[in-house]
Symmetry: D2
Subunit: 494 residues, 4 copies
């Protein structure tokens, strides 16, 4: 059966080899350890949704390989409608979980990029990566796995190519090519979301590479607990709320799906069998594989950001009420939050619709619009957070409330509860304020700025894909200028 229940999902994680560490400690079972169980719960919510009548349509689709019902997170984008559904699902998922379920979206997008890239390589090189990929995918769909996407290398000196680094490990690389088509790899992938909640990792190059970087060009899928893989989870602001959560009611951790997790994945001579290798030195195709990734990623991330904003907007309006104010007082600000949310959502839709089909059948989003959306994603949610804090008041802005432990203290707890109350009781008001804090300055703040690449990188694409020469030609025509207006040659002022 291709659609797991939350319990089956968790069981699949529990049975894996422990290789995740945090604060120096090996986590025996990610589904129960306090540092990881919350993010597992967040991801489990998706498995619940795909089994709910209300949400099945958005969370599942039909495999174009097998005709079977599958998780949408394991499907190939083949039309604008697929991308629109992607956006809708991302927005809804944040609304349902209140947190980043990063063990799904980056892996899904990377998988789609490899779908198209393996087709390209086979088409040009006569290799058989695409068929191999489809076999793996069919199996992944059948197993209904969760897979994190791993692109970002440590990179070392950002101004140098992989082969120029003092230490070759600064980008994940092939240390041995096996005769059967397999590889052994070494290095790391860093700041990878949702790893603790994932069954597998989809690994691909993080940048466009040149001919001397062939050994660094490697893509594959691998179980998260494969031999040689060690994972260390990063420490974030407020993530101690999970670790120190004193009981199920502890509202210092307002979102039961927990905070965002980002892992450092160390590959210590990890062997990848041939049937899971999707690139092995074909550096020429890295430029496009990156483009295949960022197109849908930057389109649909706007919907996730919209979902974040929806929750902040609801929380801010609730906080207004809790403070005794009709939310109408804040109409202008709540409207601006809606404008921000709809803008990142809408631009993703536009990018999907204005895209085009790849010969493999993959749907490629419009690169100009998706990169413009990346710029909005790197600015508008910050404004939305500021507005949420503006509406919610000082108590939410810096989260300056007594801890749950103090709030329930036998001595002074009752007084604190009394003084936290306003138009609603103290506990309710603190729960809302903690949610605002969590989303705007705590562990619940997703990486909108650099996640999926930096805004400065997006600007390079905007420059590339916008038609400045055409704009100049049209302006010349309108101004009645016949002659050439050339780019001035460089001169030396003295």
């Amino acid at each position: 059966m291709a659609l797991k229940t939350p319990e089956e999902y968790k069981a699949s994680l529990s049975s894996m080899r422990p290789n995740v560490y945090k604060f120096g400690e090996l986590i025996k079972d990610v589904t129960t350890h306090q540092s990881t169980r919350y993010t597992v719960e967040g991801h489990a919510r998706i498995f619940q949704a795909q089994n709910e009548d209300e949400h099945r349509e958005i969370y599942t689709t039909t495999s174009h390989l097998t005709g079977e019902p599958i998780s949408r997170y394991l499907s190939i984008f083949r039309s604008p409608e697929d991308m629109i559904a992607n956006s809708k699902m991302k927005r809804l998922t944040f609304q349902l979980t209140g947190t980043c379920t990063g063990g799904r979206c980056a892996g899904w997008t990377a998988m789609n990029a490899l779908f198209a890239s393996t087709w390209d390589i086979d088409d040009a090189e006569g290799t058989e990566y695409h068929q191999r990929f489809l076999e793996w995918l069919k199996d992944a769909q059948a197993r209904d796995i969760t897979m994190a996407g791993a692109l970002t290398d440590p990179k070392g000196d950002r101004t140098l190519a992989p082969h120029q680094q003092a230490d070759p490990d600064m980008n994940l690389h092939i240390v041995e090519r096996h005769d059967d088509g397999g590889v052994t790899v070494r290095g790391a992938k860093v700041m990878i979301c949702g790893v603790a909640a994932a069954n597998e990792l989809v690994v691909m190059p993080g940048s466009a590479y040149g001919p001397d970087d062939a050994d660094w060009c490697v893509a594959f899928a691998i179980p998260r607990d494969a031999e040689g893989i060690t994972i260390i989870e990063a420490r974030h602001p407020s993530d101690d709320r999970e670790a120190g959560c004193s009981c199920d009611d502890d509202f210092d951790l307002p979102v039961k799906g927990g905070g965002i997790t980002q892992a450092y994945i160390l590959f210590d001579d990890v062997r990848v069998p041939a049937e899971r290798v999707f690139m092995r030195g074909e550096w020429k195709y890295t430029r496009n594989s990156i483009m295949y990734f960022i197109g849908p990623y930057r389109a649909a991330i706007g919907a996730c950001v919209a979902g974040q904003g929806d929750v902040m907007r609801g929380a801010a309006a609730l906080m207004a009420r809790a403070n005794g104010l009709d939310e109408k007082v804040f109409t202008e600000k709540l409207n601006q939050m809606a404008i921000n949310n709809e803008t990142t959502f809408g631009m993703g839709i536009a990018s999907a619709v204005m895209g085009k089909q790849h010969p493999s059948g993959a749907w490629l989003c419009d690169p100009l619009l998706s990169n413009v959306n990346k710029i909005h994603v790197a600015r508008l949610p910050y404004e939305t957070k500021v507005l949420a804090q503006d509406i919610a008041g000082g108590v939410a802005e810096t989260g300056c409330m007594p801890s749950y432990v103090d709030f329930t203290d036998e001595g002074y707890g009752e007084l604190l509860q009394k003084y936290m109350g306003a138009a609603v009781d103290g506990e309710t008001r603190v729960r809302i304020a903690r949610l605002v804090e969590w989303l705007t300055i705590g562990a619940g703040v997703p990486g909108c700025m650099h996640g999926g690449g930096s805004p400065d990188g997006a600007k390079m694409f905007i420059r590339m894909f916008s038609d400045l020469n055409g704009d100049m030609e049209r302006a010349k025509d309108l101004a009645g200028i016949d002659k050439d207006v050339p780019k001035p040659e460089k001169k030396k002022r003295n």
Copy 2:
């Protein structure tokens, strides 16, 4: 033949009864008088385009009524694709003309609103407006007419309804209902674009009306030169460039399609025959007819604004070159201009795609997204203008150049030409600078703020169509709050 040439279009205007005034003077022939011939040229460019192989696909389509090829400006929006084509055409039209061709887009949108509204009225009231409308439309398509849309009434006291005004004429109204179904109307429509270049006017109510306003609820199409109609063209900044244009080369008027025209149309007991009347007192349907208008209008206007921005971007980059600078110096600013352009374009696309079908077959854009786009349209082009002026330098910012007459003066003209030169000759540089001036502070600045309704009005719709209650519910769920958080009751502080 349904697709006129520019010459046929102009001939159709020349043969009309003169009823357009400016500066106290009756304009005998709008195609030759210096105050109107430029806007006629701008509109004529569209007739040229529909006969060009390169542009025919975008400027023409197939009538769903007759199966004949028609101007797209006379078609009904029946799918997202129709709306996307609308957006593409609007962007291209501004690129080709450098000015507002307002005699087409508002009339087209009003016509589409009446397509759906007449269906609604007939469906509920058993009337026969829709069929009547279709007959008129078929004929309009066959004649390939240009029609301005007229919604805005003088309004008088904005806080009162039409029937409450001291003077009933402050909103266009029915003074007599004729037995044959015709009407006689009195009042005015004001600030109407492209009237001098139009064959007909499509008139409809400018606001939602109540039962006491039935006499003010009237929609119809009418020849621009019908008996009783008097038109006075408004005076804008820089529109003297047209009136005083000294010769064809006069670059003080940089855009040969001329400036934006906006007219005051006086209706002095104008008789409208039954077959051209599309609403006659059915006040209940005004709310929806307005919604049918603003949906596609606010979606597609973003594409027009994008076209404006494309021209400004090209002109600014040209000006950089003319000043001796590589446009790369201004990459950040040129990127921001592209971001602004793509945002208003893209949000319109999203609004189209997320829309839905009306039972009449009309396609209704998503109201939340189209109103969000209105907000962007009311802000981003201003930033684009500021960036254009920032890049182009002081000479363009305030247009502080000698007049064409001085520039060609026998005495000092040569010196002025010399001193205006930089990396290009003086004339070329002035032509570019005048284009920037024209688009950013002269007669070429379109009314992005209030055209098609005010941004504050759009915010009311955003509040209405965004789901704040849902956002609050989801935030409550996430925060683990079971109890109600009601809107606080109003209390009196003392």
Copy 3:
């Protein structure tokens, strides 16, 4: 001797009665307990500075009461120069400490507000508060105390006045007036900065009160450890870094002055002796006492915010270098950070200079300019944070680095250090990234939005102090309008 050393300062804290709690635990000695010792260190840096030749001039001044050298934090603002020195000191203090030393600035400003208010009351009512205040101040200067300012009440239902609250304790109030002029008070002050590091509390009303609120109008100074006072420290994002700091080198806590502290202060029938009581029911003077507070507070807070921005700017530029990039790449962004910093700094200077003298000798900042500055303070630092994150990259944006404990793990620590390295070694890079995280999304983010009052409150003052009627008159004159243009009367649309 009026200028304490850091050691003397800490000794003064150690000798106080323990009454500060966090996480349910009573803190025995605030100078050594892990939850409070860092903020004490931050405040101690000021005592060090006032004893350094380099900084003495800015940190000390001459008492206008005694002619003795005193801490500037215990002086009265009596000229624009005093306010400029205030701004300079605030900016420098953030640069030196990297954190909020809230145990000084709010108390200082409250003290200044009481200086003027006690004069007003005595002048009108014939009381003797001012002399009493001066006696206390002389003593405070001689003892070189640190005092937190406590204005914010729990407030309960924000739409009701204190006397209307269901529970009178929702605002601090007098429960008994003693014959000798002393009072007994009950209630709380909440979200008070720097309490753990303070010797005394300066308490005054948090809003303007009416006649029925006389019992809530009470101002006084009191030792932080007076009988009946219980303090609970709030829990913030990242403040576990202090609690769990594993050793002196632990760079997860990048700022050795620690995070911002905000306390809930419970007053359980606390007796204040007459010589420390500065308001006792004189509700008429609360409106002005608030104005006396927000004037200098909102002027000078801009300098603190500038200091925050200076540190973020330096940290962002360092991070660029650590990533291998010349900071010149980010000139536009670094410039914008400087613009933001200088704007909040400069507007405070302008507010000081355009102020006027109070009859008591106090200097009152210009209320329009100081409230405009509040608006900037509530927006610009957020943009500065966004820019810091934009420059610094993903690792700083969400602080997604392994913990210090993992970083120094015997097994995988070395690999993590290697992979964190770029143009500099891994530890150095992490130290910088943690600083950016700390200042932009961790425990080091000061409450710029609502600290010292909300921006919406400031806007009410801007409306009040800006001369809209005068602006309208001048516009009328210019437009050549003689007649009245009255405010329209309210009508009912129907």
Copy 4:
């Protein structure tokens, strides 16, 4: 008598040699010709003000050379108070005139720059420019002259220095040095404000020059009508309103001080006598003379911009009333306008106060703060204009009203007046709307972006004067980093 009346001022202009052209026509008398008389009226308002009790204190001061009362526009800035008075006067002047009185402020500032520069040159070179300058100044004060400041050269290729230009005339230069210390100059100064209303021109280099540019380094004061000077006035948007003004009541020209004038001044071998020459080849001092100019200019321009904003704010609020709306509806927008106004005003005050004394006695504004203000001046007034248009509605946005001639037409004029009416009569409403148009998109829009230099130039100074190295050092200290974090060396990626 040193303080002229308006009549004396106009008489001084009438008696000058006619050398101003516009539209190919030589203007016989600038005080009566329709193209220049309005700007003369604007400047005359200042002469009126200096003779009014209400305004004398701000418009006059005491000559530090003679102790006589003089126009403030002829005084030397010698203290922060002088600069504050400068700011106050600039703001008030815009409020009184509604237009740019550019014949005063740039000349005044240039004169101040030369005061300090001549001192510098004499001090280092043993020349006697300063005494010569003081003699001229005393005389100028006694004659109470109006003088335009002329810095901007045509420049030609902006990437090359003056001596590198193909044509040496592209920057004003010395063609002959006379034995008596006089010079003959050739070239042009372009886009110079207020020339037609000025008695003299204060001319100085527009950029910092190098040793090979010595012949281009020339500064002097000269009567506007000196032999060899020819002036052509630039054509702006809407300046036809002046030329075609049909009568004194014609409200198409809402501001009786007229629009901004900017002139092209041609110097055709103009002889300047020794006693009026203030730089003659001393290129080393051009860098500082520019700094001496932009310091006070960029500080005080913010006050002029504030005055502009005050008028827009008043006009927008009036328009709200005219439309039937209480201005309270627009409180948020009106507040933002006030914030913008006070920001450019306040930053200028701060720049003045944080400045320092030059050895000559001149007061030098803080360069960092004055350049930050330039950035605000290049952005905030645009937002203010957008807000004015947002509040005022479509009629003001594009100025789409019938001309005065149509409005008073015998046939349809009455109907137009009726339909323009709302809460006030039609004429009053149009007068206000024309004022908004004039200030936001017509001839009344001052050059805030590039006037006094470009914002990009200001950013170079911000980079220079802000202490990034210091910021990095402090960040390092806080982060506990001992080692060097050097600027990365440039490497080649391959």
